[in-house]
């Protein structure tokens, strides 16, 4: 510990003198702040809460761990490589922007870097991961001013870019998951599958996949979205720890149940039954981890209810009536677009004009 402290003191001193190290000051500061807490003291109020943004983001990562570990079990050790590439290339963009702008690196990327691989298909080529994450970070976050100022969820922007630019790789090739013994922990990658995902099976052939398979992850899908038990547990953990707000996931799930029930009643060949809708595709992953991203969702309480209802309606609509099998990523993006408007309307009602 003392050695680490001395290393950072020396680096800080050198960065004052050396020009190259001065440019890299954000990286040195970020690593220093990762290992050691702050020395600053309070003004008024004289005491403050012990939580900070690093811990906040660490808890989100802990919530994602069940899905991630299950992903390695299902699809093999290649998942670790995908995650590593996502962090490396996204982190590179963050460092470049921080060095050029002469500002600090913020912790928002820790979560984006883990969520982005989880919404990609298991057979995604590695170069595509790099391109996707770089696009997402640049156009989803840094172009708007960095953490706290982005309008869109950076991971979703990257995913949609890949869907539109490379549709074949994103929709056609899937893998069959391992589900025996130690599974993917001992293998590198999973075999390609000739079947389609549960959502595509419903859309084309009206086949409903077994709910146990969907729940425990013995189905095809993106890397992180199949182990739905783990996703629900992780999501509930975040809600209990007060990191995620409970209103958005509840509103979204109730809304999906309601609208898909209506749809299934009147047009059963287009709209799947409610429980199948909840348990298929990326709905649970999107609801618990991407919808609740505090920067891009509506911040007012009533706004969260309205946003959740809108999200649910859009998911059912896009899944049922459009050419896409999965509507979650577009619904999240549309919710991000509407969030400021929803907040504005709620504030107009909550704070009426002053009496004269």
């Amino acid at each position: 510990m003392k050695i680490l402290r001395d290393i950072f003191e020396n680096l800080n001193r050198l960065s004052q003198q050396n020009k190259l190290l001065k440019r890299l000051k954000p990286v040195i500061a970020a690593t220093d702040e990762f290992f050691f807490g702050t020395a600053q003291v309070t003004a008024t109020p004289h005491i403050v809460d012990h939580i900070d943004i690093k811990r906040f983001m660490s808890f989100v990562i802990i919530g994602l761990l069940p899905a991630t570990i299950a992903a390695i079990y299902f699809w093999g050790l290649r998942v670790l490589l995908v995650i590593a590439i996502s962090y490396t290339f996204g982190g590179l963009i963050e460092v470049v922007f921080a060095a050029v702008r002469k500002k600090e690196i913020h912790e928002g990327f820790l979560v984006t870097g883990l969520i982005f691989p989880l919404i990609l298909p298991p057979t995604v080529p590695l170069w595509m991961v790099a391109v996707g994450v770089m696009f997402g970070v640049i156009f989803g976050k840094e172009a708007f001013g960095g953490t706290g100022r982005n309008v869109f969820n950076a991971a979703i922007v990257g995913r949609i870019f890949l869907s539109v630019a490379f549709p074949q790789a994103m929709t056609v090739s899937w893998s069959r998951p391992f589900h025996q013994g130690l599974g993917g922990f001992l293998k590198f990658s999973a075999d390609a599958a000739t079947q389609a995902t549960p959502l595509a099976l419903f859309k084309n052939d009206m086949l409903i996949t077994n709910f146990w398979d969907l729940f425990f992850g013995n189905s095809l899908g993106c890397i992180g979205e199949t182990f739905r038990l783990g996703i629900i547990l992780g999501g509930l953990f975040l809600i209990l720890a007060k990191i995620s707000n409970w209103r958005l996931p509840l509103a979204a799930i109730l809304s999906v149940l309601f609208f898909s029930f209506l749809g299934n009643l009147f047009a059963a060949q287009k709209f799947a039954p409610p429980l199948f809708q909840i348990l298929s595709g990326g709905l649970l992953l999107g609801t618990f981890f991407m919808l609740t991203d505090p920067v891009t969702c509506p911040f007012t309480k009533a706004g969260k209810w309205l946003g959740g209802i809108m999200f649910g309606f859009l998911v059912v609509l896009i899944r049922g009536l459009s050419g896409y099998t999965e509507g979650v990523m577009f619904s999240i993006l549309l919710l991000n677009v509407f969030a400021p408007l929803i907040d504005h309307l709620v504030l107009d009602v909550k704070y009426p004009a002053l009496k004269k």
């Binding site: 008024t44 005491i47 809460d49 920067v295 704070y351």
Partner: protein
């Protein structure tokens, strides 16, 4: 048992280490005091004594010509050493330094002899005014001598409270030890005699069930008194939240409860009212709780007003700890940087917490057995007996706002601090801030407390209010149109002279 009332928002501070023990120590009579002639609210009087003059404890040493105030007394027997102006809590105030002889006696209030029940309301008012207790708490006790901004006939409600919602509180067991519960009831009866039109509410922490039962039994025959049990959620102890919670009335933020006819008094003030009327004791002493982990032994002491801070605390601090002294409340209290300044009548707690500039290794990954937090991410929340640590470290670097909404959930007056501070940071100061009710802020400090990004939200909101005022937007436009029976406004703002 009466129903528990509460308000939306707020945060409960539970079990901080260094709570003051329920033990009362009689402090040694000091050999020197510095009595400020302006303490708390109220105008400063003219000094009646000169250097070299002999004074006795309880002798009035200030004379009020105009303004809202009560007399100030010398607090020890001795000789006046110095009369000079000192910078005291951001205003230049006259301070009378007295060198004492150590004797404990005091001069009784003139006219206070025998049974207070036989006096008229006017005689009672005079005794209370001359004893100085009418200057206690936020707006004092109204008498016809202009000790408060309103008149005793204007008082519709009187709230007596001992909520204790701060992280550190003075102990009610210490205040009500011995016969003091009976004295408290007598004090309430005295106040009822002065303000006969007022309905009295007695509010206590809902966890003190025994005391609530006892008070209920003792006050059964009074139909003008009502008992309320409140949840000890910070900042319930503030006037701005007691009035809406108990009286269910809107509060004129920025003004005081006195402007809507409510007087709010703490338990200690009512006890001192009794001592003034029944025993003739002038306001020369206060019971102060010494709290916080930097004290060797946190307890309660009785101090003479004017005792220099250094004389009280320097021997009681733990070895090797660099303390920060705070007055009364940890989230909003003033930092006591100069230990040569005296304790005055507004003190009820002196809190000492250690300054901590240590850079802790992997601070954000710790399990947190002793860490208090609004979020449920530390183990201390799930261990009921855990004593929470209390020091001045910021526990994180300042980061951009992520709109996590903790500040809005914690805000007791239902405004949105992160939204307001974003407007202020980008310098967009216009009527939108007024519409978003920026002037409702009561400066409780909870928003800055809970923020994970360590943004000083309360400071930004205050800056926004100041910039709006500079631009010409008056807070009256936001507050006054909603009230039709507000009184004493001009006297409160100092726009009208009170003689």
């Amino acid at each position: 048992m009466p129903k528990t009332h509460t308000f939306a928002g707020g945060y409960k501070f539970v079990n901080f280490e260094g709570q003051p023990k329920p033990v009362l120590e009689e402090a040694v009579i000091p050999l020197r005091v510095s009595v400020p002639l302006r303490q708390g609210f109220g105008a400063e009087g003219d000094c009646l004594v000169e250097v070299g003059e002999k004074v006795s404890a309880g002798q009035i040493i200030s004379h009020i010509e105009k303004g809202v105030a009560s007399p100030v007394h010398a607090t020890i027997n001795g000789v006046v050493e110095e009369v000079r102006r000192v910078n005291y809590f951001q205003c230049d105030c006259l301070m009378v330094s007295i060198k004492g002889d150590g004797s404990p006696g005091y001069q009784k209030v003139p006219g206070a002899a025998g049974n207070w029940e036989q006096w008229s309301a006017q005689e009672l008012e005079k005794v209370l005014y001359l004893s100085g207790v009418t200057a206690l708490d936020r707006e004092g006790i109204p008498t016809r001598f202009h000790s408060s901004v309103i008149h005793p006939e204007d008082v519709e409600n009187l709230i007596v409270h001992g909520i204790g919602s701060e992280p550190y509180n003075i102990s009610i067991d210490v205040l009500l030890q011995g016969k003091n519960t009976l004295h408290l009831i007598e004090g309430i009866k005295i106040l009822h005699k002065i303000m006969p039109k007022a309905r009295v509410y007695f509010a206590l922490n809902n966890q003190r069930k025994k005391i609530l039962e006892e008070i209920k039994k003792l006050t059964c025959p009074f139909d003008w008194l009502e008992i309320c049990s409140l949840e000890p959620k910070y900042p319930q102890g503030y006037d701005e939240l007691l009035v809406p919670t108990i009286l269910k009335q809107k509060f004129p933020y920025g003004y005081s409860a006195a402007n809507i006819g409510a007087v709010v008094l703490n338990l200690q003030a009512v006890l001192q009212v009794y001592e003034a009327a029944a025993e003739g004791k002038p306001l020369i002493e206060r019971t102060v709780a010494l709290c916080g982990p930097a004290f060797k032994e946190p307890l309660h002491i009785k101090v003479r007003i004017g005792t220099v801070l250094k004389d009280v605390v320097s021997a009681r601090i733990k070895e090797g700890v660099a303390p920060r002294f705070v007055r009364n409340g940890l989230l909003t209290g003033a930092e006591l940087k100069d230990a040569n300044l005296p304790i005055d009548k507004t003190y009820s707690q002196i809190i000492a917490i250690p300054e901590n500039r240590q850079r802790q290794f992997l601070a954000f990954l710790r399990p947190g057995f002793k860490s208090d937090s609004y979020s449920r991410t530390f183990l201390a929340k799930f261990l009921p007996g855990a004593k929470k640590s209390c020091e001045t470290n910021k526990h994180g670097e300042e980061r951009p706002c992520i709109s996590c909404n903790y500040c809005e959930e914690a805000c007791p007056v239902s405004i949105i601090p992160h939204l307001l501070s974003k407007y202020v940071q980008r310098n967009i100061i216009d009527e939108t801030l007024m519409r978003l009710r920026i002037f409702n802020c009561i400066e409780c400090g909870l928003c800055s407390y809970v923020c994970p990004s360590k943004i000083p939200l309360a400071e930004y909101i205050k800056e926004g209010q100041e910039k709006l005022t500079i631009q010409g937007c008056d807070r009256n436009q936001c507050i006054l149109p909603y009230f039709d029976n507000i009184r004493g406004i001009e006297e409160y703002r100092g726009a009208k002279e009170v003689y």
